[in-house]
Amino acid sequence: MHDFGYHRPASVADVAGLLASKGEAKVVAGGMTLIPTLKQRLASPSDLVDLAGIAELKGVKAEGGGITIGAMTTHAEVHRSAEVQKTIPALAQLAGGIGDPQVRNRGTIGGSVANSDPAADYPAAVLGLGATIRTNKREIKADDFFKGMFETALQDGEIITAIHFPKPEKAGYSKFPNPASRYAIVGVFVARTAGGVRAAVTGAGPCAFRSKELESALGGSFTPEAAKAVKLGADGFNTDLHATAAYRAHLISVMAARAVAAAS
C-alpha cells in the first residue's frame, strides 16, 4: 500500500474535523474492504481516520422494544449478544454467518452498511427490518439509504453512528453463499412486522433491495410455500462467473422460503 497519514480520534465530533481538514481522507471501521483495497493499491487516501478508538460507537443496547447497535460493533459481538439473540435472533444468526471468524472479529456493522457491497449480508437485515440508520448528522430510514453499488445516502463527512432495529414479530435470513468468497450470491431477509411483511434481497442486484413480489406473496401467507411459488424474471439481476441472473432469480424464491421456514 501507499503511505498515508493515520488518525485515531476519540470522539465522533473529532471525525468530522479530520475529514474536513484532510483532502483525501477515508474513514476506516473494521477495514475488511478498505485494507485489502489499499494493499492492492486500488485506493490511495492521503489519510485514514480510524473509528476504532471511539467508545460511543460500540455496543448493543435495548431501545424502545427494539435494539440499537453501535456502528463499530463487530459481527462477532452482534452474533454473541444476548440482547440481539433475544430480540431479533435472525439478526444474530446473520452476523454469525458473515465471512469467517477473522472477519467477524474485525468487521463492523457500520462499515458493512456504509460500504453497501452488493453481496454483503447486513444490508438485507437493515432493509428487511426497516431499520433506522443514525449518523453524525441525522437519521435515515433504511428504505432511503441504499442507493446503488457501493452507494448510499451518506454525504461527505457523514458517518454512521448506530443502527436501530425495531423488533419484528418474526424474522428469518437465509443466504446462498458464493462457494469461493462466501459472500451472498443471494441472501433474503424476511420479517413479519406490525406494519406488514418486509422481504429484502442482497447479492442479486447492484445493492440490497426489497422484493415487492415476495412481500405481496408473504403478506397473504407467511409460509415457505408462498415464497417458493414466487417466480421472478431474471431482468436486472447480476450475472457473474458463479451465477446467472436466472439462477439468482430462482434462488431468491428458494432462499426466501428457507428464511420463512427458519423465521422466529
Binding site: P179, A180, S181, L241
Partner: protein
C-alpha cells in the same frame, strides 16, 4: 512391529516445529545486507514492448537497480523434456527469458526487475516505470488455439502447435473399431487448475565475493534439479560454485518442481549487485505465475463387442502449454497421460493423439497427478457412459474388462508393463466399505426428502515412482530420474539420513526415520533426516510423481545395505568370527550358533575409534551413499466410490460418503498414508466440484485471480473419508512401496462426477462438466429431458 517401526502410525517428527510456528521457510531467511525485489508484470495477455523508460524508477527512494529484458545477458529457462511429433520433428521450443525482451505473452509475464532497500520502495519504484505496449490479439482457448487464423503466440509454432504426438497402434485400433458391436463416444474438458500451495513461492539470492559462490534459497521440491537447470542452462554457474537450499516448504503439489524466472533473477542480480536479494510472491502473483495444471480438451471413443468387452480405444487430446514451455510441461500430456489409457483394463488396441498448443496464458505443468488424473477421468467417464449405453451394470462392465490378478506382469498396448495389482480386491473392498449394494434404498429415502442421491465409481491405476532413467531418456527426458540416499552413522551410533528427495508436507522426516530405525534396530529418536540443501546431500532429483519412498526410500535401503555389510565385517572382527557367520537383527550382530553378540552402537564407535580394527582390509568410518535407479515405474491403483446428494432447489452437491480403497504397496506409516489420501481426495473434490481457472477469452485477463473467485476446497466442503489400503507389493524395489502422494487426486474426480451424473440420471441428464458447481447442476436440472416429479 515395534511402536515406531515399519507399519506403525508414528506421529510426525516434523510437526513440533510446524505446529508451533518454528519452521524455517524461504521468506523467513534474511541475509545480512539483504535487499528486496519486486517484479513489474505485464498487464496484457499479448503485446509488443515498444519502449520501457526506467529513469524515474531508477531515482526513486531506496532503489538499488532496475533491470529490463535488455539488461539481462544470460540464458533462458530450459524445458527438461523433448517430445517429437508424429512426423519425427522435435517440438517447438521457444525461448523463455526470465525478463521479456520484446514481447509479453501472458498477463503476469516479467517485464522489469526492481531492487530496493525495502519491498515497499521496490514496489513504489515499479509504479514509476513507463512501459509503452502495442497490444496484440490474444489466443486463450485450448480448443481453438490450433484453428487457422487465430492469434499466434510464437512465430515458429504454426497454428500455435508445440507438437503433434501420438502413441499406440493406429492400424490395429482402426481394425478393431471396424468390427465393433458398439462404439461409445465422449467429449470432455479437464479444466485448468491453480495449484495454490499455502506458502507462496519465494527466493533469496546471495553471492559471496570472497569465494565466488552463489546461494539460492528457494521454495523448491527439488533443489538439485534447480541447481542443475539454473547453473548449467540459465546462468552458467558451475555446480561447485552454486548452492541451492530448499528449506521448509509449505506445499508444492507439483507447482514447485519447476525452475522459475524469479529464482534466476535474484541469483543473477545478487551477483551483479553484490547484495542478497529477496523476492516473495504475493498471492495474486501466485495466481499469475505459478505453473497451472491440467487443461485438456479431449474426444474419446471406446469400441466394444456385444458383451461389453473392450476392443479398442482411441483418444484425441489438445493440451494447453500456456505461453512458454515450463520445465516438465511437454511430458505431462504425453508420457504421463497417454501411457495410462489402458487403465485397469485389457483393452487390446489403443491409439492416442495429443496436440500441445501455446496460448497467451500462464504456463501449464505437472499438478498433483500430472497427466494421470486426466487419463483416469477420461477413461472412467467413458466406461460409465459405455455401461449406460450397453445397459450393463457399471461394476460388471469394469470387472469384465479388468486385468486379472494372475496376468501380472502385464504389458499394456501403450508402453507400460504393470508389475502387480489386484483390481478385484480393491473393488470388492470399496463396494463393501461403501455399502454399494444398499445404495438404492438410500436413493429412495433421499428422494422422499426431495433430494437426488447418486453413487459413482472409479477404478484406476497410475504410474509413479518416477522413473527408470533409461526408459525416460528414450522418451525424451533430459535428466536421469534415480535418487540418492546417504547414511551417516555417527560415532555414538546415532544416524543422519541424507535424501535427495524433498519433504514439503509428505512427512519424510518421519517415514524415512521409521525405515532406518527399524532396519538398523536403533531408536527413531536417534535418526535425523536431512534434505533440501545441495551442500549437504550428494545429489537428488527431488519429490514429485509419488516417488519419494519408492525411489528415494529404496536408495536409503541400498545405502543401509552397504552400512550393514561393512558393519558386519567390523562386528566379525570384534567377535573373531567369519563375516559369513555374522547375522544382524534388531540392532545386534551375532554369530550363528554362539552366544557372541555386539550391539550396533559398539560397531559404530569401533568404526570411528579403530583401535581394534581390521585396518588393512577396511577403512574406518561408517558412512555410505547409494544411488537407486528404479527398474520400472510403480503402479498404485484402486477403487474410489463417491456418494452424493443433490439439492434440486439450489443445485448444491453434497458428498455424503467417500470411500477409497487403494493399493499403494508397502505402507511404512499408515497415518501418513491416510493423510496423503485425504489431501489428494480433497484436491480431487476441488477439481470435481469447486475449482476452475477462468481467463477472459478476449483480454486474457485471469478472471479467477484470487481466492474470492477461485474456489479452493475447505474443511466444510469435505465429508469424513473412508480410507483403506489393500496392497499388493511392488515387485521391483526393495521396499515394495508403490507411492501414495497422488492417488487421491487421480482416482477421485471421475467417481465424484459419475455420482453426480448418476444422481441426475432419473432426469435423463447424461453429462456434466467439471467443476459441477451449483449453477451447472441447477442448469442441468432445468434443461433436463425429464422434469422432477412434483413434490
Amino acid at each position: 512391529m515395534t511402536a515406531t517401526g515399519i507399519g506403525a502410525s508414528v506421529k510426525r517428527k516434523e510437526d513440533f516445529r510446524f505446529l508451533t510456528g518454528r519452521g524455517t521457510y524461504t521468506d523467513d531467511i534474511n541475509r545480512p545486507g539483504q535487499s528486496h525485489a519486486y517484479i513489474l508484470r505485464s498487464p496484457h495477455a499479448h503485446a509488443e514492448i515498444v519502449k520501457i523508460d526506467t529513469a524515474a524508477a531508477q531515482s526513486s527512494p531506496g532503489v538499488i537497480a532496475v533491470f529490463t529484458g535488455a539488461d539481462y545477458d544470460k540464458g533462458g529457462l530450459p524445458a527438461g523434456w523433448q517430445i517429437h511429433s508424429k512426423d519425427g520433428s522435435p517440438m517447438v521450443e521457444p525461448p523463455h527469458f526470465p525478463l521479456c525482451k520484446d514481447r509479453v505473452r501472458h498477463v503476469g509475464d516479467q517485464v522489469a526487475l526492481v531492487i530496493a532497500e525495502t519491498y515497499a520502495e521496490a514496489k513504489d519504484a515499479a509504479e514509476k516505470i513507463d512501459v509503452t505496449y502495442k497490444e496484440l490479439p490474444a489466443i486463450i482457448s485450448t480448443a481453438d488455439a490450433d484453428k487457422p487464423g487465430k492469434p499466434q503466440v510464437w512465430a515458429d509454432a504454426k497454428n500455435n502447435v508445440c507438437y503433434d504426438w501420438h502413441l499406440g497402434d493406429k492400424a490395429a485400433t482402426e481394425a478393431a473399431f471396424a468390427k465393433a458391436h458398439h462404439v461409445t463416444k465422449i467429449d470432455l474438458v479437464n479444466q485448468r487448475l491453480v495449484p495454490n500451495a499455502m506458502e507462496p513461492r519465494a527466493a533469496v539470492g546471495d553471492y559471496d565475493r570472497a569465494t565466488g559462490e552463489y546461494t539460492l534459497y528457494t521454495t523448491s521440491q527439488n533443489p538439485h534439479v534447480i541447481r542443475l537447470l539454473m547453473g548449467a542452462f540459465v546462468l552458467q554457474i558451475p555446480e561447485h560454485k552454486l548452492r541451492v537450499v530448499a528449506p521448509d516448504v509449505g506445499g508444492g503439489f507439483g507447482s514447485k518442481i519447476f525452475h522459475y524466472a524469479e529464482e534466476a533473477l535474484v541469483t543473477w542480480a545478487a551477483g551483479k549487485l553484490h547484495r542478497p536479494i529477496k523476492w516473495t510472491a504475493e498471492r495474486s502473483e501466485s495466481f499469475l505465475t505459478d505453473a497451472q495444471g491440467r487443461d485438456h480438451v479431449s474426444h474419446a471413443e471406446l469400441a466394444m463387442d456385444k458383451d461389453g468387452k473392450f476392443l479398442a480405444l482411441r483418444v484425441s487430446t489438445i493440451a494447453n502449454m500456456g505461453a512458454y514451455l515450463s520445465t516438465f510441461a511437454p511430458c505431462v500430456p504425453t508420457y504421463l497421460y497417454a501411457t495410462l489409457l489402458a487403465g485397469v483394463y485389457t483393452t487390446p488396441a489403443i491409439y492416442a493423439e495429443v496436440k500441445a498448443v501455446f496460448t497467451n496464458t500462464v504456463v501449464v505443468d505437472a499438478y498433483r497427478g500430472a497427466g494421470r488424473p486426466e487419463a483416469t477421468y477420461l477413461l472412467e467417464r467413458l466406461v460409465d457412459k459405455a455401461a449406460r449405453e450397453m445397459k450393463m451394470d457399471r461394476v460388471e462392465i469394469r470387472r469384465k474388462n479388468f486385468i486379472s490378478r494372475e496376468a501380472f506382469p502385464y504389458q499394456t498396448p501403450v508402453a507400460l508393463q504393470y508389475d502387480s495389482g489386484d483390481y478385484d480386491a480393491t473393488l470388492d473392498g470399496a463396494l463393501k466399505a461403501s455399502d454399494w449394494a444398499g445404495f438404492e434404498s438410500r436413493r429412495a429415502e433421499a428422494r422422499k426428502r426431495g433430494k437426488l442421491r447418486g453413487i459413482g465409481i472409479s477404478t484406476y491405476i497410475e504410474a509413479c515412482g518416477i522413473a527408470p532413467s533409461a526408459v525416460v531418456g528414450s522418451l525424451g527426458a533430459r535428466a536421469g530420474l534415480y535418487e540418492c540416499g546417504s547414511i551417516r552413522v555417527h560415532p555414538t551410533g546415532s544416524v543422519t539420513v541424507f535424501t535427495g528427495t524433498h519433504s514439503h508436507g509428505q512427512g519424510h522426516e518421519t517415514t524415512f526415520a521409521q525405515l532406518v530405525s527399524d532396519t538398523l534396530g536403533i531408536s527413531i529418536d536417534s535418526v535425523e533426516v536431512s534434505h533440501g540443501d545441495t551442500n549437504k546431500i550428494p545429489f537428488g532429483m527431488g519429490t514429485y510423481g509419488s516417488r519419494s519412498l519408492a525411489v528415494g526410500g529404496s536408495a536409503i535401503v541400498k545405502a543401509m545395505d552397504k552400512i550393514i555389510a561393512k558393519a558386519k565385517r567390523i562386528a566379525a572382527h570384534l567377535m573373531e568370527a567369519s563375516v559369513a557367520d555374522v547375522e544382524f537383527k534388531n540392532g545386534t550382530f551375532t554369530v550363528a550358533g554362539t552366544d557372541k553378540s555386539v550391539p550396533f552402537g559398539t560397531v559404530a564407535l569401533t568404526a570411528y575409534v579403530p583401535h581394534n580394527y581390521p585396518i588393512t582390509e577396511l577403512e574406518p568410518g561408517l558412512e555410505e551413499t547409494a544411488f537407486y535407479d528404479p527398474l520400472n515405474f510403480t503402479y498404485p491403483g484402486g477403487c474410489h466410490i463417491c456418494e452424493v446428494e443433490l439439492d434440486p432447489d439450489t443445485g448444491v452437491t453434497k458428498i455424503v460418503n467417500f470411500t477409497a480403497v487403494d493399493d499403494v504397496g508397502r505402507v511404512i506409516n499408515p497415518m501418513i498414508v491416510e493423510g496423503q489420501v485425504h489431501g489428494g481426495v480433497a484436491q480431487g473434490i476441488g477439481q470435481a466440484l469447486l475449482e476452475s481457472c477462468v481467463y477472459d477469452e478476449q483480454s486474457g485477463q485471469l478472471l479467477t485471480g484470487s481466492l474470492m473467485d477461485y474456489c479452493m476446497p475447505r474443511a466444510d466442503d469435505l465429508p469424513n473419508f473412508k480410507v483403506a489400503t489393500q496392497s499388493t507389493m511392488c515387485t521391483h524395489n526393495p521396499i515394495g512401496a508403490k507411492g501414495v502422494g497422488e492417488v487421491g487426486a487421480i482416482g477421485s474426480p471421475p467417481a465424484i462426477i459419475n455420482a453426480v451424473i448418476d444422481a441426475l440420471s432419473p432426469l435423463g441428464v447424461q453429462d456434466i462438466s467439471m467443476p459441477a458447481t451449483p449453477l451447472k447442476v441447477w442448469q442441468a436440472i432445468q434443461s433436463a429431458p425429464a422434469k422432477m416429479a412434483a413434490e
